[in-house]
Homo-oligomer: 172 residues x 2
């Protein structure tokens, strides 16, 4: 569990940026207009190839779902982290609703002293790289999310869970 | 080109439903609550596995982009159809904006007498099956779309185009 932690501590969210999220996965947004190209006879712009969808391990395939999430109130006590060892997992809000992305770098066990909380701006989604420990989706507003994750051919569940032994709160 | 067509004719859109869209691909929506399952300790619902993402042909991978499309005015004259022979292509609106999906069943050449126009309801997306002839995205409101399509390892372009020889209009 890394450095010893006090029995109770708080974490504040930071704005989600591609630079800050490096090592955790991809930010899916339109914040790089320099990468946009005109398509369809100039009628649309494409912000291309925004995420590394990593679902092919051992015969896996990309699975598309919609998650309908209720809102979470802050401060929020973190009780559980999970990771998917064999696949990436993308969350894209379908109504520009904002959410928190709470992550720890990939490791055998989550190093709680390396917890980070990112707050999305309207229109931003994320793609968690495989192996990244993360809290289940923390929606700050109710809404639907498109989720792109790995389905295994035998529907084997790829989810490790780890309870959070200390009292950790996300304040804002 | 199938049956001879009059030099000018019009097409009206119909509401997008899974049954009507059969053979063209998948409707991505939450209209089947009977298929939803509770996840994340009851805090979210998952509408699972809504689309067949078909991008693996010849070393292909799923590519995630955002298309920013301007609005199209109706009536609209159709001038061009295209198809992607080796991959599916999904369009999911990111702000519940509505759009038209104009398609022809897969065939060597588009059979214009089999043209269909589907109008989405707010919150609906589609996944075009590979090989389906379709008009480029017809957004009725400006907005962003998440697009999931195939990228080939050599970035070979998989797009056949066919001009529409008759004067075909989508009226509404």
């Amino acid at each position: 569990m890394g450095n010893p932690q006090p029995p109770r501590w708080t974490l504040n969210s930071e704005p989600l940026t591609a630079a800050g999220f490096m090592g955790f996965g991809d930010v899916i947004d339109t914040n790089r207009p320099d990468l946009a190209t005109l398509i369809n006879q100039g009628y649309a712009e494409r912000f291309g190839d925004l995420a590394r969808i990593d679902t092919a391990h051992a015969g896996g395939r990309p699975m598309i779902s919609i998650y309908r999430a209720g809102p979470c109130a802050l401060p929020l006590r973190l009780r559980l982290l999970e990771r998917h060892r064999w696949g990436s997992q993308a969350f894209i809000p379908l109504n520009r609703q904002v959410f928190l992305v709470i992550v720890v770098p990939p490791d055998a066990e989550p190093q709680l002293d390396r917890l980070r909380a990112f707050r999305t701006a309207p229109g931003q989604g994320v793609n968690l790289a495989r192996g990244v420990w993360h809290h289940p989706l923390v929606a700050l507003e109710a809404g639907d999310y498109l989720v792109i994750e790995r389905a295994a051919p035998d529907l084997a569940v790829d989810c490790d869970e780890q309870s959070v032994p200390s009292e950790v709160w996300v304040e804002r």
